[in-house]
């Protein structure tokens, strides 16, 4: 059996993975490098992202390698997959840059940056994995480091959050493993491609097992996407972790999770199956619960967590249908969500770094941000409006259109109406935060200058939101 191997195609996965080793090696050689590990990590992650660029240049052809024969490849990076790979790596790089200025014990820096690299590598890989084995390995590679990253803050709340994350992730992994086993049992193949699925679908008994497998896999991934009811860890982990790691959980992890989900669903859609009602229900419940809980949340980080839950519902909204372009729609929405969320986290990091973490947790402590830090406040407002999907942030609106399009096209009216109601609730959530920013500031304002790198990232984020608002296709076009 010959297996082809193309390092160029594998580079997005290999560079961060090897980069993790490199960071640890560098630490062994130069123990006092400190925060520069993060710079190395960021550079490596960007390099990995750069390796994805050919996927967007070469046209529509999926990039494949590790092929068993002409049709069966274990690594296929198609357009949405490449987009998610790039997004995973870039967002991880941004997280690395956000962490960079933060003071932390020197011995932890290399480990933490290695963990980020590892998780990013897993996230990048899972998007292209086409067999159960590597899929399982890579998805856990993307998950397990996050537990450690959350726990690193070493506060009691962080440990609690990590424990919550850990237990949920373990159980989810167990569910995933069961799902994978059932998949294997149904199809007799460890490949996640359409042929095996078609073969299994022919046999009604095998089909039933296959459906159960798919559903278990969706449930297992629901944890990673923070879908209700697999979401309970989200607020705890966000509130416990340091702010940039929160961004990692909210953005990078989500990219990886959706990539993993798409790999499975892509195989299943060849069935031309009716809409996945389970996904529709989960999406509806996620949106609603996320928004309702966010509405009564008084902590900004928890609010972001609940917002993630609600947005996750929006992300999988198109996947409840069999309409063309559902995959692209979900990917596109997630890209916009990721951009907006990471910009929001960047602003929160900036404020937290300049004024202390205590000033970013409570919503009320944002009072007067518009006067205190107009740039940061405007950026945050635009990011929040992107999440709410309202102009001036056109890109958020376009994302909403993108997500609703397959649903409306498929005639899932009840789901569309639930989504519309949630668009309203979501707006209420984000407006609450914006209102808090508009209030009069508390008198004891600590007004340190923000770190330049943070400021640069925030400006960059605002620019990115602005540019994509004028030309949303720049971002959405990545997904094909």
């Amino acid at each position: 059996m010959n297996v082809t191997l193309d390092y160029g195609v594998l580079a997005p996965v290999l560079i961060p993975a090897l980069g993790a080793v490199l960071v640890l090696l560098v630490d062994a050689v130069l123990p006092r490098l400190g925060r520069w590990h993060w710079a190395i990590a960021a550079v490596l992650l960007i390099a990995g992202a750069a390796a994805c660029v050919p996927a967007f240049l070469s046209g529509s052809d999926a990039r494949r390698t590790l092929c068993l024969d002409a049709t069966q490849c274990l690594y296929v990076a198609d357009r949405p997959g490449s987009a998610l790979q790039t997004a995973t790596l870039v967002s991880a790089a941004v997280v690395a840059l956000l962490v960079l200025p933060v003071r932390s014990p020197a011995d932890r820096t290399p480990i933490a940056s290695a963990l980020v690299l590892t998780a990013a590598s897993g996230g990048a890989g899972v998007a292209a994995a086409r067999d159960l084995g590597s899929w399982l390995v890579l998805i856990e590679l993307a998950t397990i480091p996050t537990v450690a990253l959350v726990a690193f803050r070493a506060r009691r709340s962080a440990v609690d959050g990590a424990l919550s994350l850990l237990t949920t992730s373990l159980v989810s992994f167990a569910v995933l493993a069961l799902g994978a086993a059932l998949w294997f049992a149904a199809t007799g193949s460890a490949l996640l491609d359409g042929d095996a699925v078609l073969a299994a679908a022919a046999d009604p008994q095998a089909k039933r097992v296959l459906v159960l497998a798919v559903v278990l896999i969706v449930a297992g991934l629901g944890f990673k996407l923070s879908l209700v009811p697999f979401h309970a860890w989200t607020p705890e982990a966000y509130a416990g972790a340091s702010v940039p790691i929160g961004a990692f959980l909210a953005v990078t992890s989500k990219f990886a999770a959706l990539a993993a989900l798409l790999v499975v669903l892509r195989g299943v859609t060849v069935l031309g199956a009716p809409a996945l009602q389970a996904i529709a229900v989960v999406a509806a419940v996620s949106m609603t619960l996320g928004n309702v809980m966010a509405l009564r949340e008084s902590s900004a980080l928890r609010l972001l967590a609940w917002s993630t839950v609600a947005q996750a519902g929006w992300v999988i909204l198109p996947l409840a249908t069999v309409a063309r372009g559902a995959v692209r729609a979900a990917t596109g929405y997630l890209l916009v969500y990721g951009l907006a969320t990471i910009v929001a986290f960047a602003v929160v990091t900036l404020v937290a770094h300049a004024e202390g973490r205590g000033r970013v947790v409570g919503l009320s402590s944002y009072a007067g941000l518009f006067r205190r830090r107009p740039l940061a406040a405007v950026t945050l407002a635009v990011a929040l409006l992107t999440l709410a999907g309202l102009p001036p942030s056109v890109v958020g609106l376009v994302a909403k259109v993108l997500a609703l399009r397959p649903v409306a096209a498929d005639g899932l009216w009840w789901l569309a109406i639930v989504a519309a109601v949630n668009a309203m609730l979501g707006l209420a959530v984000y407006l609450r935060w914006m209102l808090a920013m508009a209030g009069t500031p508390a008198p004891d304002t600590v007004d340190d200058r923000p770190h330049r790198l943070h400021l640069a990232l925030v400006v960059l984020g605002l620019l990115a939101l602005g540019v994509t608002s004028v030309a949303p296709q720049l971002l959405l076009g990545l997904a094909g």
Partner: protein
Amino acid sequence: MVAVLLCAIVVPVVTGALLITGDRFSPAVGALTSWVVAVLGSVVTAACVVLAVWRRPELDHEWVPAIGMRLHLAVDGISAPLLLLTAALGVLVVLHARVEPPTRTGHGTYLGCLLLVTGGAIATFLARDAILFFLAFEIVLVPMWLLIKGFGDPKHRASASAKFVLYTVLGSTLMLVGILGTVYLAGTADIDGLVGGAGLSTTQQTVLAAILLIGLGIKVPLWPLHSWLPAAHTAAPTGGSVLLAGVLLKMGTYGIARLVVPVLPAGVERLAPVVGVLAAVGILWGGLVCLVERSLKRLIAWSSVAHMGFVVLGLMSGTRLGLQAALFGNIAHGIVSALLFFVVGGLKQRWGGDDLAVARASLRDTAPRLGFALVVGMAALLGLPGLAGFWGELLAVASVWNPDGSRPVLLFRVLALAAALGTVLAAGYALRVLRVVWAEGSPAEQAAAPGTPEAAQAPRPAPRPVDADGYEWAVVGVLVLGAVALGVLPTVLLDSTEPAVLHLLEVAAR
């Protein structure tokens, strides 16, 4: 010429954004500078709009293929009057802001929001791509929310602004769902291409029309989805009220005229009786509430509910006459409600409140100009011939009396009767206002007026002349002239919309 189309949208939006940014600096850009910039911006916008309406260029460019949205802008007979109205009101509200500046600091933000709303509305009326239409529809939301929330009546603004923005966003998202469904099933997002049902089955059309009508009905507002409107108007600053009534409500009916009536004829046919009844209930409901409403500004807002009912009724009749009536009614109500909100806003600030139960000196003696404007506005509101309001209502009633053959004739005749009764109610409340505000009272009470508790607790930013003068009189005078011109020469407007209406319904019938 195509640049004119883009300029008409980009100039107000960019100017608005700049003004808002200017406010963020410390120290903020001066009030006068902001105002001059805003005036320039709005005048340039108006010039662009006039040029666009005159030369009718068309821009069709790919924008976001991921959602099938094209940057397709054009002007036709249906949108041209609305565009001119919007641009004109844009200039007027900015001019008026000099007379009635925001009650707190933040001139730039206030003016910027006004311009943004104008720009968004212009974009809405220019858009010829269904999804672009939705996008433009949403642009006005946040600035309008800011206007109400930031510059409104402190007593009501929190809940009113939230109600406005949440209600509207629900409506527009529902509209989006409807648009997306239609666009997907029809296979095109081009508004002109959608006309005629695009081969959709009756059931599909009905579902889509229902969703679209609920969505747009919130914006119009259609009874019983109206409850955001009185609150928003009560709380909004004068400029905001004017734009809200004069422009934003029109976007809803424009949407129905563009996206529902010609696009989903079979669906509208099935839903017309229901919507017609709702509209008629709205007419009577609004009229009745106005008879007992004590807040003057709220009363005008309620009258909007009633008057938009006429427009919707016309749209639901399914005839060319009805469509013409609706388009006319739209413009007429835009002018009249803008006029009334300018006047009433000014009165509210002068009085320090707008409770009708408080005795005040009669307007005809103390402030004859404002009194005259109020009389003209109220007369137009009750549909007096010679003023703008008359034609829309007359034609609407006529069209509803003889609706399209597919509508239940008897029901529609009852609706026509209800609408005619609505005009009686309109007379009732319009004259009630005139009786209390314009005619009643004696000069002796004027001296006592500032000492009333209501006046004492309200903020009084700057003393204003008793009667309108300068910019205020100019702004009000222009609208009075507009109302008279449209009332005396309705042919100007009807002639301009007729070809487009004929074309639309002809294509739809094919």
